[in-house]
Structures are given as structure tokens and as C-alpha cells.
Symmetry: C2
Subunit: 236 residues, 2 copies
């Protein structure tokens, strides 16, 4: 889902439109297609050697996901990052994952703990080597929690939420204190293992508030990627 799809190759056996959707989505989230830049149906059609129609259909789904803005008869543009959307998404995600770890801590599972600790080692190993890869591992970590809580289905609803947050992270890796994030992961695992549901929830909420620290700085460093003013969003 978050894979790097630079080496795109369309599989001619499968439908083209869904493949284009995944490829373009990856290129936008990874900040390879810059916010406010123009995307032309015809140009992309030529680039991928297909007709305009499948490109167009990919555009439509990506607009629905909040990554593109289609202005009829005007053009299609990569949507600038809307701070309120990021903050709103972050709120949803915090609420969701707080409940997830709260549930998990009430019935700790040793095999889950073992798996999570294994992932922590991977994260630490890759941290200074390949930050983009760390983001993938981070996603796996959180998804593992959701699946363990038995609500894999629910995790899918957060796709759009994660996309908006990931866009911010891909703009500037250096602004994110990866080792802090990993330490927070460790704390969450600890609290789940201890069976302290409230503490686990607090750890997760603190963890997911981390982006609030870096977001203003990133917005200041890269104002060209953002749109509108960052209003205030209340947080628990």
C-alpha cells in the first residue's frame, strides 16, 4: 500500500485503472508529485501508454480520497496539504488506536508481544538507514495492533486518514524524531504486556500527538506544500 512504486510496470492482464490508482497514490503520498502541481489526463495517458479513460478513472477515486482536486475544464491538481484535514485525521486516528490498545491491554497475548518486540528491533535497525522504510514498518506496527484487536475491517476505514498524515511525514524525514517514536512504540508494548489499559491508552495518545510537534515546523519550512491556515483543533 505504501510501497515505493517508482519502477512501475503495468500488468496488461489486469485492469489498468486500478493499477494507475495505486501508482499515482504512491507518488502523491511520497511527495514525488508535488502539491499544487498540475496533472494532465493526456500527459499521463501518454506516459503510461494507455488511453485517457483509465487515467481519468484513477483521478476520480483519488479526488474522492482527498489527494487530487479536479477543476472541470480547468485542470487536475495535486491537492495542497490541508492542515485541518491532517489534524482531523489525526484526531480520528488517536481516538481509534487509543481504544485498540485499551482493549489489547485488557487481555494481553504473549505471542502478540513477542511479534511486536521483534518489529521494534527491525525498526531500530532501519531507523538511521532508510527513513522511508521506517514509515512502512511503522504502518505495519500499528496495523498489527488493529488486527490483534480483531478489527482488521475497521483499519481499512482509516486509509484516507493515514494518507494525509503520511504526506506530511514524507515531506521531511529529518523533522521526525524516529528514535523517540520507536521508544514510544516500546512503551506502548510494555503497557500492553503489563495489562495496564489506561497507561497503554495514554502512551498511544502521546505517541499520536507527536506529529503535532513537527507539523508547525514543517509547515513553516515548506509553506508551498500547504493550503489555508491551520485552525485550532481540540484534543483530549
Amino acid at each position: 500500500m505504501l510501497l515505493d512504486l517508482n519502477d512501475w510496470r503495468l500488468n496488461p492482464r489486469k485492469a489498468v485503472a486500478p493499477q494507475l490508482r495505486v501508482i499515482l497514490r504512491s507518488r502523491i503520498v511520497r511527495n514525488q508529485l508535488k502539491p499544487s502541481s498540475r496533472l494532465s489526463e493526456s500527459d499521463l495517458a501518454k506516459e503510461y501508454q494507455v488511453s485517457r479513460q483509465p487515467v481519468r478513472e484513477a483521478f476520480i477515486t483519488l479526488e474522492h480520497e482527498g489527494l487530487l482536486e479536479i477543476r472541470p475544464q480547468r485542470g487536475t491538481f495535486v491537492k495542497p496539504i490541508d492542515v485541518n484535514s491532517v489534524l482531523g485525521g489525526r484526531f480520528v486516528r488517536e481516538a481509534f488506536e487509543a481504544d485498540v490498545v485499551h482493549n489489547l491491554a485488557q487481555t494481553p497475548d504473549t505471542s502478540l508481544i513477542k511479534e511486536l518486540r521483534s518489529q521494534l528491533k527491525e525498526q531500530a535497525a532501519i531507523a538511521d538507514v532508510n527513513p522511508a522504510k521506517f514509515i512502512e514498518l511503522d504502518e505495519v506496527f500499528h496495523e498489527t495492533l488493529a488486527i490483534a484487536a480483531g478489527i482488521e475491517q475497521a483499519w481499512g476505514y482509516l486509509e484516507a486518514v493515514k494518507a494525509q498524515m503520511d504526506r506530511v511525514r514524507f515531506i521531511s524525514f529529518v523533522e521526525f524524531p524516529i528514535h523517540t517514536l520507536i521508544a514510544q512504540h516500546g512503551q506502548i508494548v510494555d503497557k500492553i504486556e503489563e495489562g495496564d489499559a489506561d497507561a497503554a491508552e495514554r502512551s498511544m495518545r502521546r505517541h499520536l500527538k507527536e506529529i503535532l510537534n513537527s507539523l508547525p515546523r514543517i509547515q513553516q519550512l515548506y509553506p508551498q506544500y500547504f493550503a489555508g491556515g491551520g485552525g485550532k483543533v481540540n484534543d483530549p
Copy 2:
């Protein structure tokens, strides 16, 4: 959003595809287009006097929303209700709205309370007259809370979640204890007014667990609308 769009005329000035998306979405959520029933691009194109392309584009977005299932070269079908999707969505929504009222109760706003109490009266007045209209008012109630909490943006992320839950409610109004729901609304408002954040959160969680009571009964009464449970399943 949830409006009844039975007698809807296409506005020829605006793009057709988005209008079709809204119309079809409404017809599916309101259970006018039955689960597992077949939708044909050509038929709908004739029905709305347009070409197949805009119909197709509407299909694609609705599939992405989990309301349709497009089987290539086979047909397009209204997706049967997946209980796990409903439960997962319910989980997300409970987590979200619990945090919303928790925040609201920490800084009670008298004008908000007044507005909510006014809505409660409306709900009570319509309860026995028009259950479909009550669902609309219910949506307004919850949305009002989200907006008051300053996270209108986040509310948009829950569109798909609400759609799945609403489908269940539209299958059978009688299974839902509307007066109980209204009483729960009242309790939530009370606790916000009292400034008791934890109690407000508990009330909201109890309220959003109400669907768990009726879901099994509805599934048993209308197995043909659900996937993978009780209905005649023709698996290979």
C-alpha cells in the same frame, strides 16, 4: 447527504457523474436498491438518459466506498452487508464520538446545549411519524457535536462508516427503539451540560453500542441482505 432522492432530476448544467453517485448512494443506503441485486451500466444509462461512461464512473466511486462490487466482465452488484464492516465501522465511530463528547464536556457551551435540546424536541416529535426522517435528524445531532468540537473535517472521514451503519437501520425501522435512542441523546446532553466528561463519554459509548442489540435480530430476519451468515450461500 441522506436526503431521499427518489424524484430527482439531473441538472444538465452540472457534471452528470457526481450527481449519479449521490443518487445511487442514496438509493443503496436507503435499501431501495437491494443487496446482491444487479446493476447494469446500460440500464441505468437508459433510465437517466445519459451515456454509460458517467454511470460507470459513479459505480467506481461507490465500489471504493464499499457499497458496490464490480466483477469484471460479469456484472456490478449491490454489495451484501458485511457484518464485520458494520462492526468495524461502529468501533471507529464509538472511539471517535467518545472523544468528541469528552472534549465538549470539559468546556460546556450553553448555546450548544440550547441547540441540542431544541433538536431533541424535534426528534421526539417525529419519532413515531417518520422513522426515516428521524435517521436524518439523528445524523444532524451527531454532526452538531463534531462541529462543536471543532473537528468538522474529521467528521467527513466517517462517511463510509456511517453509510454501512445506516444501511442496517434502513432495512428495518421497527427494530430500532427510537425513543430509547432519543433518551440516550438526552443523557449525553445532560452530562455535557454538567461538565462530567467521563460520564458523557460513557453515555455516548452506550448509545453507539445500541446497534449491537438489534443487529443480530435484523440479520436473522433478513438474511438475504447479509453476506456470509444464514442466507443461502452458493459457494463453489
